[in-house]
Symmetry: C2
Amino acid sequence: MKSDLEIAQEVTLQPIALVAKNYGISEENLELYGKYKAKLSQSFCSAQEGKQKGKLILVTATNPTPLGEGKTTVSIGLNDALNRLGKKSIVALREPSLGPCFGVKGGAAGGGYAQVAPMEDINLHFTGDFHAITSANNLLAAVLDNHIHQGNALEINPKKILWKRCLDMNDRVLRNVIVGLGNQADGAMREDHFQITVASEIMAILCLAKDMKDLQERLDKIVVAYNKKGERVYAKDLECTGAMAVLLKDAMQPNLVQSLEGNLAIIHGGPFANIAHGCNSIRATKMGLALADFLVTEAGFGADLGAEKFFDIKCAAAGLTPSCAVIVTTLRTLKYYGGLPREEISKENREALEKGLENLEKHIENVKKFGVPAVVAVNRFATDTEGELSFLKDFCAQRGVRCAIMEAYGKGSEGGEELAKAVLETVEAGEVNFHTLQTPEQKISQKIELLAKEIYGADGVEYSNKAREELKKLEESCYSNLPICMAKTPYSLSDKPNLLGRPKNFRIEIRELSLSAGAGFVVCLAGDVMTMPGLPKEPAAKKIGFENEKIVGIF
Amino acid sequence: MKSDLEIAQEVTLQPIALVAKNYGISEENLELYGKYKAKLSQSFCSAQEGKQKGKLILVTATNPTPLGEGKTTVSIGLNDALNRLGKKSIVALREPSLGPCFGVKGGAAGGGYAQVAPMEDINLHFTGDFHAITSANNLLAAVLDNHIHQGNALEINPKKILWKRCLDMNDRVLRNVIVGLGNQADGAMREDHFQITVASEIMAILCLAKDMKDLQERLDKIVVAYNKKGERVYAKDLECTGAMAVLLKDAMQPNLVQSLEGNLAIIHGGPFANIAHGCNSIRATKMGLALADFLVTEAGFGADLGAEKFFDIKCAAAGLTPSCAVIVTTLRTLKYYGGLPREEISKENREALEKGLENLEKHIENVKKFGVPAVVAVNRFATDTEGELSFLKDFCAQRGVRCAIMEAYGKGSEGGEELAKAVLETVEAGEVNFHTLQTPEQKISQKIELLAKEIYGADGVEYSNKAREELKKLEESCYSNLPICMAKTPYSLSDKPNLLGRPKNFRIEIRELSLSAGAGFVVCLAGDVMTMPGLPKEPAAKKIGFENEKIVGIF
């Protein structure tokens, strides 16, 4: 069996300018980054404003498991298959983070014969967007600490600083640090925290900003601290948001690459899916919708988090209407939900499958609550039996949902045809009645309760004392109309990671609320959220290197 | 008077592929980064190995002052003027650092009509080289702390960790930090330090590495810590140097841009000039020497540090022979050395000028000690009088040294013709007898004494107890043959920043020695060296932003 990197390195890529030309983008509208990567120019992006005509296809999934469901692989394979069927389609994905690349996960550019390329570049620095975000994030932090050091005219309370530094690295010792040790000249001492770059509010802002003007306004609105009177201090007050916008100017432009089959992929932005909304940039999605008849995109985690945020935050902010949501799952995953230990999930087990299907059923119901028709994609593994597959198909048919077997990992676009046809039929049936669940009129507590009951299937919501106080403050503020962004475990529909399948009789516990005023949402923390991962005992970095002048170890 | 940015923005740049073509580089050998920046492909660089035929011109200076001498501007202007005179010439410069750009200094891409462009890009992320170095540096740090957290099989002594984290930012509170606070899962607590990226040993390594193989070997050799037995722990022991090399693969390729007059400039690497050698990469310099008849390059600080390191470290490592050294100075600077306060340096003052010339004289003598002929370049200011200029010219003529007035800042290449002609005459005279001062056979203490007496004009060397111990250890080690890299104040020939002119009767005090085994030198600290700058009360970042969709505030 070849590795993803080996498969990718065997393909002769087309110059990206040629790929772009097939979609009506002339070379003068590209900023090339080598031969196989490009950014769309700012003037081209501006010119596409309002031209969005394509159909928007969301790829989401059942709750993620350690087994891997292959959402990115399905997205790329579906796009290749739509092109194979003669449709003009583009896939829009998130940019991978360096941290996980050197940690456990390896790369994040699809798999098998459904990959985007050049995958080494995409997984490493790509076009430098994340580095630009790191720089802008840390410029704000440096200016803040410098402001305090130089006399603290804004009377920032050093115990109430919200803004954190960041690095695109899995580095657990930076979670909690003390900065400013040393002498008077070395600044004011305080506790600080580093996040991984994808958790920076600037990442969410970049992905939600419509244009440079919107970006600037969102940067200005970031709440960085409280002053000694307890009032909010904004990034704008520190007078460095102009420089931050300048640092982000290239990062704002969507990146073009190609799939191994030579179809266009836009890869742009990659916010966390817990404390942020987990989708690629609005600009990338809109660009795809302007340039093609179909735009396939994915959202982070399972549909309870990813699809909900895609609908309630991203589509709401961008005024987008999705045409169809593909829910990716695997037989192995369903049996795992059904209670089977990992060793047994490759064996046939109708009982476990049936029980696990409750999870899929809930996600189908959830997607329909937004007025979006669902298609189930079963990412096929070699051990899947025909009996189980047809059982799953019957299950979906009984619920009026199309279900397709997806084999793009092993077969490329040919293996994606069944899913592409199911998607096309669904879109042509036109059963869309899209609406968000969250609305600006709802109070924050109503939005939280709505998600808890409607999406997670909880009986209600519990608040910690801290959360209750923060809720009160926020509901009395000008931020009460913002959507909420739930940060809960992705592994369960509930807020308890070990409650698999379709849990019942539980309440969602909200520990903390925090404001991302620049991004434009209120983060609700239902559980511990790690915003700076650590490296495992054997980091993937150990396997990465050169062999015979070729990169090895990225997968 | 127009700002540098305004002048730069008025020029219509040529596509970089066209500029490169004039130097025999076809587009297939370029990795474009937008239309006006490119990297040379690895295969092209490899093919140039051994083809270096051009003459190497070093631009150095008298000791730097707060007034600015304009070394980069002179380098760019000289190159433009050589091209104007029909010579095929390329200029090789260091990449600017983001830290100073947002701090005091603004940009670093020349000035007036002698600039490289696009200066906004060059001053910001450019082609991402510094970000790649930051990533590689911090991957090593994360893997080191992870190693300790996961059981510390190498028995690293947490009190003897030498490797520091880095960021390309002026951020004083990161100079001294405690990392690893929190719980057991948050890693081991210890004191740590951030440097600015240009101070990372990886920056020096990248600039001294001949090729990817050499890079890998140098990364392997980095000493990151001591173990509990007091033995050195190397980066290789942490098994992440392959991943570091992969992160650095694009950063190893020289970057092409153009001057405002459309002549080729290679901008690549930018190590500190105190704890490192302060020159652009060996690869960039060699590339220029292979592609043109002249390669103009600069070294950091004044000739006592910059030129010495250029000769003893860079030329020695690369096997390069310089043909001529241009020593940049200004009348204002010379009068400042002569004891005039800043308010009076623009007025004629023969006495101060005469006294200040002692500094220039010493630098001329120093350059000659390496067997390299010197040319003095007087970077002209509007207040300079003809009387003073001819006094300076006579002074140089009496010492058999050509002297040229340089006006490229205000007039572009036309203003650089006098200097270009002086350089051409000097090169054609062929009075080169190049040899390094430092040699591998000398003991480390001999090398230190040699520089102290021969270059700085000191009576001798004093060692702190700490330095004496380190010296002993190093002289007994396999590292005793490495060149030394002096980290002393650039503002004086001595190690006391306030001793201007040509100080006498002083001894150099060595406080500390430290090994940069990957870079391949021993750093001698004669004084405090700041490797993480801070922001000033009014950071330049405050003025940077967009106005009418154009960047403003970078200068």
